[in-house]
Amino acid sequence: MKHTVAALVEDRPGVLNRVASLFRRRGFNIDSLAVGTTEEAGVSRMTIVVDGPEWVADQVEKQLDKLIDVITVEALTEDDSVIRELALIKVAARPDQRREILDIIEIFRAQVVDVSTTTLVVQLTAAASTLDALTENLRPYGIREMVRTGRIALARGAKTTAIHEHEDAESKRFHHESGRLPEGDLPFVSK
């Protein structure tokens, strides 16, 4: 079972290492991991696809959330989210086959973004299964090289994985408290 998890993380050195190290150590299986900027400066968004049973997905969320540099974590389901991936495929295209290939590309609503005398570079943004299908259809012509970004996802509708909205949802499970050192003069405030 594949699970898509979105994590908002502090944009700091070492964050990717922390996340990768966590997955390695706990034996979680990453299908894909995509990292990029968000609407907020200093915050990056990781979209992680994990393969495993339900309890593993649950542990992935909780263990990720436990990392101090991870601000918020949310599971995104296929039904409630827009999930996309981008692929670039360099396919061999002999002049006599080029028309056939272009037909396939058109059916998938993919684009040709580079042409040489013997190859085409095809670009497609779609759900992972569509990318798989395109790949299979192009394979007989000879795929020279290919790259996929890994999934990225956003919740459908007005709902967001924003930092503050998530905290509201989380606070339903427990009440926050502030801590204080038994000695010393540092007031600890947890917002």
Binding site: K62, D69, F174, H175, E183, P187
Partner: protein, 563 residues
């Protein structure tokens, strides 16, 4: 605003955090920091003999006092020598701060002399770590690090500082408050979680409490007692939960787990509702997970949501600080006595006390020695242990009944923890007598800290249970590897002569009749003492849940072992 050097900032931060002791070892890149120690006399530096000793001492200091334990090391080998101690503290959620120096910023990543990627190394074994690249970032990092170490689920935190950051000048600005947006500290549990938990507990006929280290870390012993008494619920302790309820309490049924009592393990296996409190459902406490009382409903109270459902399916996970949650639950549950259930456990206990008793007869056994030490030193003393047979016997027979009385390496199981941890505990609690129960194997891993104790006048009593074997490994070879002893017998130095070499008192005990006198003599001596108890060579720890077996398969004698 006046500027100060990074080194002064670090020490000022420690002062502001109320840190009175740093266990450390100097080296090239931390020289600028050591240069400033004399200007900060409120922070006592204790020079250890090995960085691992510094780390375990900080750990023992924190466990004994509840305050932040701090260890300091130089770059490269100094830092990597801390790794075992950092992991040990982290596994047992002990609030500790580890500070390391590193090579100057322009040399980072160039594999220069004594460079190690220590933040890369410690990443999976700390709650959080920092590589501080600017002097102005030091104060916020220290404030945040202490905040993380001391709040929520406590743990170890590591700060790495390049040499030239110690020398760089910056303004010292102590943060007014610390707030980390990716970090939330659970306090009270939600009303709905408490209600769901209470409903299950109220319907239980055979409820049982597993009380763990969280009760001690969360200072919740009073709340635990009130909750158990109100609900008439028997209490079992994990190894690290010992001390959360005195053993003489009518609802206290002692330690569960691999070397827990027969009755505790059977009570755990026959309960219909399990209430886990501040414990992480560890395999040494629960045995084979899939056969850990699969029909019981589990209510699991923990401050760390990631512990819920990690090892066992949980009916009601409750996120919260166990101290608050126990108050909430005590209000929410019905007053009950569970007379039949307690009688059932009592009957099993009456029939199986023999396997949890000091062996009769005149032989000098570890069980006898540790029970005599406990009897003499009493509940106000602090006991630390290493790992292995002596640790289990200490857990079984030292009558632990006070929080922070028993200091032992639970999660990581670190041999050699005992001596430096005792040193740290004695520094934290100078008014308490500190005894360390050592194995002859573990003692030889870290006894270099005796020199530290001599220098700093730390009067730890070191009782070595000397059986000439790595006892627990030998026990397993005897029981599960057909008596095939491989690399478990070891020769020992003359421990009394060793004491002499350090200029401290050494006492050898070879017979039961000498035990009490030796304990008195050691306690009366003003300084560290080594007691060499030459105990029974091939005793086994019973009861036992063989590795991979269920708690219900607890055996009490070698005949029970199925090879």
């Amino acid at each position: 605003m006046t500027k100060m050097t990074g080194a002064d900032i670090v020490l000022t931060c420690l002062e502001r955090l109320g840190v009175d002791t740093v266990f450390g070892y100097p080296g090239g890149v931390v020289l600028p920091l050591y240069d400033k120690f004399p200007a900060h006399p409120k922070v006592r530096h204790i020079l250890v003999r090995h960085e691992q000793g510094a780390g375990h001492a900080a750990d023992g200091y924190a466990r004994a006092s509840g305050r932040l334990g701090v260890a300091l090391a130089t770059s490269g080998p100094g830092a990597t020598n801390l790794v075992t101690a950092i992991t040990n503290a982290h596994m047992d959620s002990v609030p500790t701060l580890f500070i390391t120096g590193n090579v100057s910023r322009n040399l980072l990543g160039r594999d220069g002399f004594q460079e190690a990627d220590i933040t890369g190394i410690t990443m999976p074994i700390v709650k959080h770590n920092y590589l501080v690249m600017r002097a102005e970032d030091l104060a916020p990092a220290f404030a945040e690090a202490a905040y993380l170490a001391m709040t929520g689920r406590k743990g170890s935190v590591h700060i790495d500082i390049p040499k030239d950051v110690f020398l760089e000048e910056a303004e010292f600005i102590w943060p007014e408050e610390v707030s980390v947006r990716g970090y939330r500290i659970p306090g009270e549990a939600s009303v709905s979680d408490v209600q769901r938990a209470a409903a299950i507990i109220n319907n239980a006929e055979r409820p049982i409490i597993f009380a763990g280290h969280g009760i001690l870390l969360g200072d919740a012993t009073e709340e635990l007692r009130a909750f158990a008494e109100h609900g008439g619920i028997p209490i079992l302790n994990t190894l690290l939960g010992l001390g959360s309820i005195p053993p003489e309490h009518v609802l206290s049924y002692g330690m569960m787990g691999m070397h827990g009592s027969y009755w505790a393990n059977h009570a755990a296996s026959n309960a219909d509702v399990i209430i886990g409190l501040g414990m992480r459902m560890d395999d040494r406490a629960l045995g084979r997970f899939q056969d850990m009382n699969p029909t019981a409903q589990i209510v699991h109270v923990d401050i760390d949501p990631a512990e819920h459902g990690k090892n066992l399916p949980t009916a009601v996970p409750v996120i919260g600080n166990v101290k608050h949650v126990l108050k909430q639950l005590t209000h929410a549950i019905d007053k009950k006595a569970h007379v039949q259930w307690l009688r059932w456990i009592n009957e099993i206990r009456d029939g199986h006390r023999a396997s949890m008793s000091v062996p009769p007869g005149g032989e000098l056994t570890t069980q006898y020695v540790v029970s005599k030490i406990a009897e003499f030193a009493g509940r106000e003393a602090i006991f630390t242990t290493g790992v292995g047979q002596h640790q289990m016997w200490a857990a079984q027979f030292m009558n632990i009944g006070r929080p922070r009385q028993f200091i032992t390496s639970g999660g990581l199981g670190t041999m050699g923890f005992e001596v430096p941890a005792a040193m740290g505990a004695a520094v934290a609690c100078p008014d308490r007598q500190v005894w360390t129960i050592c194995g002859d194997g573990g003692f030889q891993m870290t006894f270099q800290e005796i020199a530290t104790m001599v220098d700093e006048q730390i009067p730890v009593k070191m009782a070595i249970m000397n059986n000439g074997f790595l006892g627990m490994v030998r026990q397993w070879q005897e029981l599960f590897y057909a008596n095939n002893y491989v690399s478990v017998a070891m020769s020992q130095p003359d421990f009394v002569k060793l004491a002499d070499a350090y200029g401290i008192k050494g006492i050898r005990v070879t017979d039961q009749s000498q035990v009490e006198g030796a304990i008195r003599e050691a306690a009366a001596y003003n300084g560290p003492v080594i007691l060499d108890f030459q105990v029974q060579a091939e005793g086994n720890v019973w009861p036992m849940v063989p590795a991979g077996a269920a708690l219900s398969e607890t055996i009490e004698a070698p005949e029970g072992v199925i090879r």
